[in-house]
Symmetry: C3
Subunit: 160 residues, 3 copies
Amino acid sequence: MTDHNNRAAIVVLSGDMDKVFAALIIATGCAAAGMDTVLFFTFWGLNAIKKGDPIKAQGFLGKMMGIMNRGGINRLNPSRFSFGGIGRILFNKMMRDKNVASLKELRQTVIDLDVHLLACKMSMDIMELSRDDLIPEVEDVVGVATFVKDAANSKIQLFI
Amino acid sequence: MTDHNNRAAIVVLSGDMDKVFAALIIATGCAAAGMDTVLFFTFWGLNAIKKGDPIKAQGFLGKMMGIMNRGGINRLNPSRFSFGGIGRILFNKMMRDKNVASLKELRQTVIDLDVHLLACKMSMDIMELSRDDLIPEVEDVVGVATFVKDAANSKIQLFI
Amino acid sequence: MTDHNNRAAIVVLSGDMDKVFAALIIATGCAAAGMDTVLFFTFWGLNAIKKGDPIKAQGFLGKMMGIMNRGGINRLNPSRFSFGGIGRILFNKMMRDKNVASLKELRQTVIDLDVHLLACKMSMDIMELSRDDLIPEVEDVVGVATFVKDAANSKIQLFI
C-alpha cells in the first residue's frame, strides 16, 4: 500500500489556457517530487482531455462546446487577451520562443509521469460528452465522492 | 470534541453559476463522507446566499449588485456562454434534462447535510449587504481569522 | 527548525483586483495566526508585485502587459464590473469609504508580517519580465518544484 499522505489532488474546472497550463505544470512538479498525483477534469476543464474531433452532441450547449473546441487542448484560449483566438496564437508563439512546452506536450509529460487523469461524470452528462470523446489516457469517469476521498488523503489539494 | 482533522473548508469567491455549482457539489461530497464542512462565501460568492429580494444599498456598486442579482442563486450566470442571461437558462434546461439538481436545490441539500454557511464580513461591508439580505440558514458573518483557523484544521481546503 | 506543518502556501495566478485582495487578506490571516506563509505569484498575478514602471519588453504580449499595468498593483481591475477601469475606481472608493485598506497598503501589511513573496520563473520568462521589474521585497524567483515542496509541507494550500 502506498503512503496515503504522499498524494496530490487537483480539480481542473477552468478551460483557460493559462490555468490548464498551471494545472499541468503543478502536476508535473508533484509527480517529479514523488507524489501520487490525480487531476480531476470537470466542466470547461474537460476540454483539456478531449480528443479534439468534432463532438456529436445533440443539445445546443453540447454543440457549441463541440464547435468551440474542435482542436482539443491546442485550441484553449488564455483567460485574458483572448482576442477571438489571437491571444492563444501569441501565447503559443511566446512559449515556443522561450522553449516552454506546448499544452499538448505538457499533457503528454504528465501522462508519462503516471499522473492519473479522471473526468467528472456529472459535467460530462451536462455537456453531452461520452467516454469516446476523451483521449484514451483518461483513466476513469468518476463522481465527486472519488475526488473527496482522494483529496482527503492528499497533502496537496487545489481547485483551478 | 470532534476530530479536528475530519473537516473541509471551502472559500467561494466566485459568483459564476458553474463554480458555485462545483462548490456545492464538493460540499455535499465532503458532508456525505462524514466531514464537518464549511463554505465561506465572499465577494461575488455572496450572491449564492442572498435572499434574492431587491437589496436596499445606497452606493453605486451596491445598487448594481442588487439589480443584477434580484433572483438570488437562481440568477447566477455561467463563467462562459453567458450571453446576457441566455447561457444560464440553457444550462438550467440542460441540468433539468439530465435530472441534475438546480443550484437552489443543491444549496438546500448542503443545508440539510449540516454544511456550515458563513459569510465574509469585509466583503459584505464593501458591497453594502446586511445580515438581513442573506438567507436565514447562514450561520454567521465572520472575518478571515475564522476561515484561517478552520482551514488550518481541515483535511481539504479549496478556493473557488 | 520551524514546525514544518505550521505553514501556508498560496498560488496567485489571477490578476483580478478582488482575487488579489482575497489572496492578500488570507495571507495576513495566516501570518497573524502564526503561520509561515508564502505567496507564489504567477502569470497575471505577477502584476501584483510589479513596480508599476513601464516595462521594457520586446515582444507583443510583454508590451501589452506593460501598457496595461503601468500603475502596478493599484491598476488591477476587478473580475466583474470592470467597465474599462471605472469598476476599479468605484471599488477603491467603496473600500476607502468602508476604511478597508487599498491593495498597496495590504501588500505592505503582508510584507510587514514577513509573508514570503515569490515569483514564478517560467511565467516571468513568457511575459518578458526581469527581476528588476518586480518590487524589491520579492524574496526570490523560483520554479514549480519550490512551490510543490512548500505546499506539501503546508497546512493550507490555495490556488487563487
